[in-house]
Symmetry: C2
Subunit: 404 residues, 2 copies
């Protein structure tokens, strides 16, 4: 069995260990929910203060040019692009993940006469709702599909998957599924909500057509930070944004009544962007500067591997649903437990913050920028105590009215 | 002729005069672009600092409940609702104006078999682009319409207008046009981009079906602040959001794969909202607390009336396009000038900030919360000098590459 001392030694040998100090984590908290909301990088508050008091307060309208607000979605998009293996000028940061999925799914639906949209039961619900809306609007049908066992038929317009299952943490085979879609004559959309910033993604290398993702999880952009959308360079020329707005126009300030799409990825824009939310995300991305993403992945797998090993040894009542095969694992560990909700609540009271997902999943995100091996060791220690003492059975942990 | 002393006396008698001190305006600047980007209320920076360092940094994921982030769109929506004469629980702050227009226009289009969508040539271009997109998706046609001279036919599904023309500052007759639409069996959408926070709007009293608007102009929510959408209580039950996302679901955290719309206005939500942008808007709205909106309107008309009077007297080459009839005027003054672009640039170098709109409009927003009569008097003085000295003919003012 690995000891707490062993965990501390793994941290001492961690080449990314110093990054934790760049985050303003609350004292005493073991934060294992960076897959819901990333922690605050220390320098972000100051950068946002400047954006508010100087750029907005003093620069006022002039800051659209002088502080570069106009191009901020593109600049932030390119910075995210490096983390997800995208070509330059193929990512833009804007709007929300759901809206960005609506854009690319609508564009893909419009291009194809085929009647079927494929996704899987493990996709995040909002993705399925958006796909259903697109299907209705384009007279197509969403079919649930098992990527491990089912073929992709010649009636499939496109496949839409989230790379990492939000409940189990299973990571799908992006290269393989993308290739299968293309062989079947279908396009593919990947949702990178639980990928971007957690490990290197290789969109260009895999030949992905479209991707979307989230700025507030592993990218640490702050609550509700701007999302992003990727359209491969080969797909940009015929990418038809279903919501044509002035910031997607070739010349927004001509104020022409006739829409003409911008060249390239800028056509994925719609309205005026949430500058403060984008500025926070822009600042947060500094933490990734100079990091080798292979190191990030290695640390993530070391942490999640340790977590699974400790759970298997010490918590037999927890059915780990995250793959033990590291190739099939994102950056979280989840287990099923009949009282998962109460267990998670009891852990939160002990300052070990994970979250619960319906119906019986306890979920722990492992953000390799700031989570340590000793945090995992201590978290499992708390879990063992919560279960051994029946602490979770306290009445205050049973009310499920307010869950996020 | 009104003198500078007269202008100062008008300011001394202004019941809203003290509000100017609540804004952090740059020294020496006469800011007449609050219709593009509202000024920074002083207390907002501190409130956002708390949201960043305490709610995000210390509260982390817990702040969705403990800091009330989940309900923030609704709370901010209700605060805006008071300013626009909306019923409680009928406004929500979220996304961008263009996206909100897409929601209500799509919902209105889906409900009607009629083939025509009416708007007017003076509508903001992005509104026309969005209406065109909706028309294409629903096999309808957008027709340009002159509200003063044309009828609303029985083939019209809905009318979509911006209340105040962004170029001329003309204010349309909301009550009259809404009534005419209803008599013709059509629904109506009003864009309040240049209305909300500038003067009282009476959505409920006028029987408006849908409205959208902007958080970063007269509401002073900050660059790219969240927009808002209104759906009248009578229209909420059959309001079909075209982009179904988890925050519009009746029970988002059930994580069901089947979409079921939320009761009421919450169904107009889609994805996770930009919390920092919303928090800034929420704080900014404090400035409106306790203000009688009739006073705000009276001051706005006094300021724009003075502006028009001074222009007519002193700047004969400026063709004022803003109505002199105060019932038909928003809260801005615009004039045509063959060299409007260069004139606006020269004024900006004199710290008089207005803006230019294609092809020949110089536009000056008058935010009655912080603009004074003496600012108007001084601005016109600068304009007279810019024109008299041919200062605007300087080569540096002729390059039109960068306009916002």
């Amino acid at each position: 069995m690995i000891s707490r001392e062993d965990a501390l030694q793994l941290d001492a040998a961690d080449p990314l260990a110093a990054l934790r100090d760049r985050f303003d984590l609350p004292a005493g908290v073991i934060y294992l929910d960076g897959n819901s909301l990333g922690a605050l990088p220390r320098h972000v508050a100051g950068r946002l203060h400047d954006a508010i008091t100087q750029e907005w307060g003093q620069g006022l309208i002039r800051s659209w040019n002088e502080a570069g607000w106009s191009d901020l979605p593109k600049r932030v998009g390119d910075r995210i692009g490096r983390l997800i293996g995208a070509e330059p000028d193929s990512v833009i940061a804007c709007d929300t993940t759901s809206i960005n999925l609506f854009k690319v799914a609508s564009a893909a639906a419009l291009k194809s006469d085929r009647p079927i949209i494929l996704t899987d039961e493990g996709n995040f619900p909002t993705d399925v709702y958006v796909l259903d809306a697109v299907a209705r609007q384009h007279e197509k049908e969403v079919k649930m599909w098992d990527p491990l066992n089912d073929e992709i038929g010649s009636d499939v317009a496109f496949v839409a998957m989230t790379e990492v299952n939000y409940r189990t943490g299973e990571r799908h085979d992006m290269a393989g599924i993308t290739n299968r879609a293309h062989v079947a004559g279908a396009e593919i959309i990947w949702d990178l909500a639980h990928s971007a910033g957690a490990f290197p993604v290789r969109l260009a290398e895999c030949g992905v057509d479209y991707a979307v993702g989230c700025g507030y999880k592993y990218l640490n952009g702050g609550p509700g930070a701007s999302a992003f959308v990727y359209v491969s360079p080969d797909r940009q020329a015929d990418f038809a944004n279903p919501i044509t707005g002035w910031w997607g126009h070739a010349r927004p300030f001509d104020m022409s009544l006739t829409f003409e799409p911008h060249e390239g990825i800028d056509r994925a824009r719609i309205g005026t962007q949430h500058v403060l939310s984008l500025a926070g995300l822009d600042a947060a991305l500094d933490v990734f500067d100079g990091i080798d993403l292979a190191d990030l992945r290695a640390k993530s797998l070391s942490l999640t591997g340790l977590f699974i090993e400790l759970l298997s040894d010490q918590v037999p009542s927890a059915e780990v649903v995250t793959p033990t095969d590291s190739n099939r694992r994102g950056s979280q560990v989840s287990f099923r437990h009949p009282s998962a909700y109460a267990v998670v609540r009891a852990l939160i009271d002990r300052q070990v913050i994970g979250d619960f997902r319906n119906p019986d999943i306890a979920r722990f995100g492992v953000a390799p920028l700031y989570v340590r091996h000793v945090d995992i060791w201590d978290a499992v220690g708390h879990l063992v105590e919560v279960l051994a003492t029946n602490e979770w059975q306290h009445a205050k942990y049973q009310d499920r009215a307010a869950v996020t």
